[in-house]
């Protein structure tokens, strides 16, 4: 909020944002260079430049094909998915007034996954007309609705007259995760062998299915969220006090909550539809950013988006390189890094509660 210009912390924040922007520019270049086929930086830039004439350089032409069809959509998708997950985590943590709220933990992603799985396996069997009508949009639409439904159920289960006990929130999340898990388990029985393999990889979280359509849709969702974030930032700051206080400060709390839930459901739904459940990005990134730039959403939201993009890009690079030429599902990697972080956060809260 730093009203005073020239405030030392405001200057520090400017540097942090600059560093994040730099990292968001460099990390995709790294990710584009490495993989099953590696290339030098100059080669990469030549191949990326649509104006360069490659007719005499078949090898670079091959790089361009690899880039345009496989690697570029994948890296870009990773960036927007990372940004979308981090943004939704940052907003939900404030909405639920709980730093442990993560789309994965409170069942939002599981709801999206169950609905997405239904769209993949059940809908083509039972309602082929719907499946053909919606085409490519079938899974994203279902996932969005699933995410929204899960959010509403959590709010209904754990909330009471504007109050939301953090423990109840996580318990409601456990219930929804269990239910969605059971539902997905049932669907696995119905699935054909082919569907099953895709489906398993998908539930673990992967960017392997990246394509330009997925990138376009997710960048739209991200752009919408970022475009609304300047309008949301101040009411979200006020919500950190309490819903009543935010209302008394003149913010339309009901509307803000609705918009935040719709945006979070869009972010999570779209991410899950194309990449499956990539856990912990929405937990780790916003909490880390809160430590660095503070709780003010005017900085926190853009910082989280940038950091989410960087983290997921680098995680995907690691997932591709660690056991090359095979690759690790990225969800496993983010869980490996994120779960210890979650435990750390939990310990801090427990200790704080003991001192309070």
């Amino acid at each position: 909020m730093s009203l005073a210009a020239g405030n030392p912390s405001a200057n520090a924040h400017r540097w942090v944002m600059l560093l994040l922007i730099l990292a968001a520019a460099i990390s995709p270049l790294l990710a584009l260079r490495h993989g099953a086929v590696s290339m030098g930086l100059s080669e990469l830039l030549t191949a990326l430049n649509p104006l360069s004439d490659l007719s005499a350089r078949p090898e670079t032409l091959f790089f361009r094909q690899v880039l345009m069809e496989i690697r570029l959509p994948r890296v870009l998708l990773g960036m927007v998915v990372g940004a979308a997950l981090a943004l939704s985590g940052a907003m939900l943590q404030t909405l639920f007034r709980n730093p442990l709220a993560d789309p994965g933990l409170i069942g939002t992603a599981a709801g999206a996954a169950l609905a997405g799985a239904m769209a993949m396996i059940l809908v083509p069997l039972t309602m082929p007309a719907v499946a053909t009508l919606l085409g490519l949009w079938l899974v994203p639409i279902f996932s969005f609705l699933g995410a929204l439904m899960a959010l509403l159920v959590v709010l209904r289960l754990a909330g009471h007259a504007g109050h939301l006990d953090p423990a109840h929130l996580l318990l409601a999340g456990i219930a929804i995760n269990a239910l969605a898990g059971a539902g997905i388990g049932l669907l696995v029985y119905i699935a054909s062998d082919d569907q099953l393999r895709n489906f398993t990889v998908w539930t673990l979280g992967t960017l392997a299915g990246a394509n330009w359509t997925a990138f376009m849709l997710l960048s739209l969702v991200c752009a919408l969220t970022l475009a609304l974030s300047p309008w949301l930032a101040r009411p979200l700051n006020a919500l950190l006090l309490s819903e009543g206080d935010a209302r008394c400060l003149g913010f339309p709390v009901g509307l803000i909550k609705l918009v935040v839930m719709l945006l979070a459901a869009l972010c999570v739904g779209a991410s899950v539809a194309f990449c499956g459940i990539i856990g912990f990005v929405g937990l780790v990134v916003p909490n880390l950013m809160r430590l660095i730039v503070g709780p003010d959403h005017r900085l926190l939201l853009p910082a989280s988006a940038l950091a989410g993009a960087v983290v997921l890009t680098l995680s995907d690079l690691a997932a591709r390189l660690m056991i090359a030429p095979a690759e690790l599902p990225i969800g496993i990697l983010t869980a490996l890094i994120g779960a210890p972080f979650f435990i750390l956060l939990l310990r801090r809260r427990v200790r704080q509660a003991a001192h309070a």
């Binding site: 909020m1 008394c248 400060l249 913010f251 339309p252 809160r290 709780p295 003010d296």
Partner: protein, 258 residues
């Protein structure tokens, strides 16, 4: 003017507050007193617009609270809750600056308002401190400064404004308690109507122009302290034996017998 007309508020099946008529003038300090469960906080929540009445209405300058746009209402009335669950690592200045949210004033004016509000609550040097590290009493005063900032403390403003304070002295020590009540007095001098829930009857007597005595969801009486805080009415409301002590300066003190 803040007026209540045929107000009744239910929580579940139970009617927790019924007030036929009450009007409060800006520029005065009104204390709401009464035993536990009398409906003091409920009245304050209703006046803040946070609790919808099941019957009747509350008018601010002749217009029902519900008809006021939220932002305009926020420029006119601020509410200080009894408890705070804020634990974000805001600086003290950041928290007080939240009070400027409904206003569209230039940055320098906001800063001036925030600085003088912090000074008023005795936290002038605390601006850069981290809010979560403060003591409970300091945190409460930060929120009071936020309320002052919301009501244009130290700025020119002639419209009728209201500070609704739920036990503003609850976690404060003796000296700070008087400071806060003096700040309330200063607010009334700036044209703000102060309405505060208080437990300490002697504070109400000393520092407030008007007192509303509530008991079991009913308004027993509204008037100057000397008229409302009589031994008879208090003994029946609090259901306990009280006594009135006169000091050498002619002041009255209410105390429990034994």
């Amino acid at each position: 003017m803040l007026e209540i007309k045929k107000l009744s508020i239910r929580r579940g099946p139970r009617e927790v507050l019924t007030i036929d008529q009450l009007s409060l003038a800006p520029g005065q300090a009104t204390a709401i007193v009464g035993p536990n469960g009398a409906g003091k906080s409920t009245l304050l929540l209703a006046l803040a617009g946070l609790l919808q009445p099941s019957h009747g209405e509350i008018l601010l300058d002749g217009k029902p609270l519900n008809d006021w746009p939220l932002r305009e209402l926020a420029q006119r009335r601020a509410y200080l809750a009894q408890q705070f669950s804020l634990n974000a690592a805001f600086s003290v200045t950041d928290v007080v600056a939240l009070g400027r949210s409904p206003h569209k004033t230039p940055r320098e004016q906001d800063q001036h308002c925030i600085d003088s509000a912090l000074q008023a609550v005795g936290l002038a040097d605390f601006g850069d401190r981290a809010y979560p590290r403060l003591s409970g009493g300091e945190q409460q005063r930060v929120h009071l400064a936020r309320v002052l900032a919301q009501l244009d403390w130290g700025l020119e403003n002639s419209s009728s404004r209201w500070a609704l304070l739920d036990e503003p002295t609850a976690s404060l020590d003796l000296g700070r308690r008087t400071d806060v009540l003096k700040t309330c007095r200063a607010l009334t001098k700036q044209g703000v109507g102060v309405i505060a829930v208080l437990h300490d009857l002697n504070l109400a007597w000393r520092h407030f122009d008007q007192v509303c005595l509530l008991d079991q969801g009913l308004l027993i009486q509204h008037g100057p302290p000397a008229e409302v805080l009589t031994l008879n009415k208090l003994q029946s409301a609090y259901a306990t034996e009280l006594m009135l002590i006169k000091d050498a300066q002619g002041g009255h003190w209410i105390a429990e017998k034994n």
